[in-house]
């Protein structure tokens, strides 16, 4: 009686353990490219504004790309021409490019897609990339209800026109943005928000969506009707990670479960670089991006330029870059990165720690005496808390001023930044990543539009930027921005710290995986297994 019980228990236990210890999945054959990505918030290219664009870029393709020198390299477009009025962009599509079901990608799809981005009902964050277009913002804000008045019109089956409100030279770069792709009009109208489901979705890029399980996996296969060069890698298998993706990617990469990582966790960089094999697989890319500390310009003592200069002068940027990235990030002395026209590192603030102390004394705080205790606010993501601690010590050591640190979880931090529009703060750590390689993206979208709540107001600066925005001659335009840059650095509303570097790791049997554009896109369709 008892024996049979015991035997049964053993049998069950044995079954259980053997079942658990089932075979480890053998590395899939080299027909599939394996990687780990974050869960795309939207698979809909009209809505994707975060890192989802990297996943989407395998499926959807814009009109063109921008090469290193800012020239357009045409993809879905056969030609892009600017009419002599400086406002009308005439776009002819390449009819070779087809949706993944073989239907042609028409001008109607493009016009529908871009107007859908602007439609307030869509609620897309990418609408701002079309802000130059005539009446676009009025329509987007709901003050204009007639979509026909928006300056985007089909002029034929494969041709359409975009008219900007003013001559807008920066729009050339925007035409190549990965945010601005077409969507299949008929499918979107038929299925609504569910059109992105694998059974409905059509794509115009090198791959098509085969399956998607939320928060688990995305599988793509080559789009047989793709108009460009056929992808050498027929299949992409993406596993979804949440939270600390860099760590998950590196572990899977080292265990040979994936072929590619898009980042290396800060604390592992030194080990990877020092490793004979892994070090060779590192593929760094200098981003046109900057991280900085900014002051609440409306508030004393930060409204005093001498205080800002003093704080800026005692920052040891080398220590920051070393601590957070093992020296792979680059020291930034000016807000606008070097690769952006208008930038000029010669404008960088110069001085010594002694000079900084003198400036602080002149401002009324000799040796930091009487300086109010202040708070450095930062998000908990990336290496920002480390930067905050380094700054805290540098300012305390050199100037004798004391700071607290307030770390907020990512979404709470963004909400907090937004409420700083009306509320006070002291200092925060922030950053900006170039969307397109044009000074308007920095001087206009960042400084003038002030999404980071820096509250920098300077009449001369505003006037120059306004003039530069409308200037069609590239040389004159760059010169104007250079003047603006001088004011920006002299005023020092933000103090640049570092330019981040993306660290990819690519398995040795993968070739042709290149960094593309200021957003550092990857295109698996252009890579191959050796």
């Amino acid at each position: 009686m008892l024996k049979s019980h015991v035997l049964k228990a053993f049998a069950i236990a044995a079954l259980f353990t053997t079942a658990l210890a089932g075979p480890v999945d053998a590395a899939s054959d080299k027909s599939a490219f394996r990687m780990i990505v974050g869960e795309p918030r939207y698979m809909d290219p009209n809505l994707a504004a975060d890192f989802a664009i990297y996943v989407n870029a395998q499926l959807f393709q814009p009109l063109a790309r921008t090469d290193k020198d800012g020239n357009l390299v045409l993809l879905q477009a056969k030609s892009i021409e600017l009419a002599p009025d400086g406002r009308t962009w005439k776009i002819a599509l390449n009819p070779d490019y087809k949706w993944s079901n073989g239907q042609p990608v028409t001008a109607a799809d493009w016009v529908y897609s871009w107007k859908r981005i602007l439609d307030p009902k869509t609620g897309s964050e990418t609408a701002s990339f079309l802000s130059d277009v005539e009446n676009a913002m009025d329509y987007n804000k709901g003050t204009l209800t007639d979509a026909e008045k928006v300056g985007i019109k089909a002029t034929g089956e494969y041709t359409f026109e975009v008219v900007t409100a003013l001559p807008a030279p920066q729009f050339r770069a925007k035409l190549a943005l990965p945010y601005l792709t077409p969507v299949p009009k008929a499918v979107v109208e038929e299925f609504g928000e569910k059109w992105v489901a694998p059974e409905h979705m059509l794509s115009n890029g090198p791959y098509k969506l085969v399956s998607r399980v939320n928060d688990q996996s995305i599988v793509m296969e080559a789009n047989p009707h793709y108009g460009g060069a056929k992808p050498a890698i027929p299949r992409i298998e993406m596993t979804i990670a949440s939270g600390d993706q860099c760590t998950a990617q590196l572990r899977a990469y080292e265990a040979d479960e994936i072929d590619f990582t898009t980042c290396v966790p800060s604390q592992d960089i030194a080990r990877i670089r020092g490793d004979a094999d892994l070090g060779k697989q590192l593929d760094p890319f200098a981003l046109a991006a900057t991280e900085w500390v900014q002051f609440d310009m409306r508030q004393a003592p930060w409204s005093d330029k001498r205080v800002r200069h003093a704080l800026a002068l005692v920052i040891d940027r080398q220590a920051i870059v070393t601590a957070v990235s093992d020296g792979t990030n680059r020291i930034a002395t000016t807000i606008v990165p070097e690769s952006i026209p208008g930038s000029n590192t010669a404008d960088a603030l110069k001085g010594s720690i002694e000079g900084a102390k003198k400036l602080l004394a002149e401002a009324g705080f000799p040796d930091g005496k009487g300086f109010p205790q202040f708070t450095i606010s930062t998000t908990s993501t990336r290496e920002r808390p480390l930067i905050a601690q380094l700054l805290q010590q540098m300012w305390s050591d050199n100037l004798g001023i004391q700071a607290n640190i307030n770390v907020l979880e990512a979404n709470a931090f963004r909400a907090w930044v937004q409420t700083r529009k009306t509320e006070k703060y002291d200092i925060m750590i922030n950053g900006w990543w170039s969307d397109y390689a044009d000074p308007a993206n920095w001087f206009g979208d960042l400084v003038t539009a002030d999404p980071r709540q820096n509250h920098f107001t300077n009449e001369a600066f505003a006037e120059i930027v306004k003039k530069a925005d409308a200037e069609t001659d590239p040389a004159k335009r760059a010169e104007l921005y250079r003047q603006a840059n001088k004011i920006l650095e002299e005023e020092q509303p933000m103090t640049a710290l570092q330019n981040p570097t993306d660290l990819w790791m690519v398995k040795p049997d993968v070739q042709g995986l290149a960094h593309e554009g200021v957003l550092n896109m990857y295109h698996i369709g252009e890579a191959a297994f050796k």
């Binding site: 939320n214 572990r251 479960e257 979404n411």
Partner: protein, 312 residues
């Protein structure tokens, strides 16, 4: 028995209502917007207004409170804001089973391993064996779960290549080994400790002594007399862990890449996805209530005295 059941089910109603109220207001009071996806630029106020209107977030809080409750009572927990193509019901249907499977396996492991180890620790005359088992059990509840999971993945996955470092391929694959073990550790430790203590107590009870004096063999005594009596506290403890384990641990699921319920909940918090936060919390509360009910019912089956007491 029946009246007890009805009473318990009725008392669950105010419990769930309070839980709903709490999570509703805390979720809405937490700063942040569900529409902010973390892109480079903040969301336009006009776009935010449109989205708020579309999902009734522009209505006064008490209207949102009652309308959500009304829909939830009809089984509709609303759309997810984070992924607008899905409803909370879809999310629960997809993620809860994964966590339930892992949790059930972990609980099974904890009980199957915990009871014999606990009994061994109680019965052995060997202080070293007892000490070792107690050591294991105490370590099990003194390590944060994420430390255990990280260590297991780095050592077994990256180091030895025995298990995948990340992802979910189903319960009966190597990908479930690390999560099951990480999840099982805390309840395992608790079951060992608890069963050992109660076995020690039962050992000195009169009827056990009598049985021993009568010359019954040790194993039947353990199984028929002692085990059954000592089982009740162990079941209580296992029950108190079951809810945590079945619903899934955020730490284990996010580190091991398991698309489960626990991970989704925390992602929903980060994204301020109100319907998902509220819906998943309610589901969790229901599971806890049901498990507590089951634990109480198990008393009936195991202990005649409980039957008398509850009958009063």
């Amino acid at each position: 028995m029946l009246s007890f059941l009805i009473k318990r089910i009725l008392s669950a109603i105010p419990t769930l209502l309070i839980a709903y109220t709490l999570v509703f207001f805390i979720a809405h009071a937490t700063p942040g917007s569900p529409w902010d996806s973390g892109g480079n630029r903040p969301i336009e106020p006009s776009i935010k207004a449109v989205l708020d209107a579309k999902y009734n977030l522009d209505k006064p809080l008490y209207v949102q409170y009652t309308s959500y409750l009304w829909n939830a009572l009809q089984g509709d927990f609303g759309p997810s804001y984070r992924d607008r193509t899905q409803s909370v019901n879809d999310i629960v249907a997809r993620f809860l089973p994964v966590s339930l499977k892992l949790g059930a396996a972990a609980m099974l492991l904890a009980v199957l391993l915990g009871l014999p180890l606990g009994a061994l620790a109680a019965l052995t005359r060997h202080p070293a064996v007892d000490g070792l088992i107690r050591m294991i059990s105490t370590l099990g509840i003194s390590m944060p779960t994420y430390v255990v999971t990280s260590i297991l993945i780095v050592s077994l996955g990256v180091g030895l290549g025995l298990v995948p470092t990340f992802g979910w391929k189903g319960l009966f694959t190597a990908s479930s080994l690390v999560p099951i073990f990480s999840l099982a550790l805390a309840p395992l430790a608790a079951v060992i400790r608890c069963f050992r203590t109660s076995m020690l107590e039962v050992m000195n009870l009169d009827f056990v002594r009598t049985a021993r004096a009568k010359g019954m063999k040790p194993l039947p005594i353990i199984i028929h007399h002692m085990g059954r009596n000592a089982l009740i506290p162990a079941i209580t403890v296992a029950g108190s862990y079951a809810a945590y384990v079945l619903v899934g641990s955020f730490f284990v699921e996010s580190i091991a890449g398991i698309p489960g319920f626990g991970r989704y909940f925390v992602l929903a918090i980060a994204a301020r996805d109100y319907p998902v936060i509220i819906g998943t919390t309610l589901i969790y509360a229901v599971i806890v209530v049901v498990i507590n009910l089951l634990v109480d019912l198990s008393y009936f089956l195991l202990d005649p005295r409980a039957r008398l007491e509850q009958g009063r």
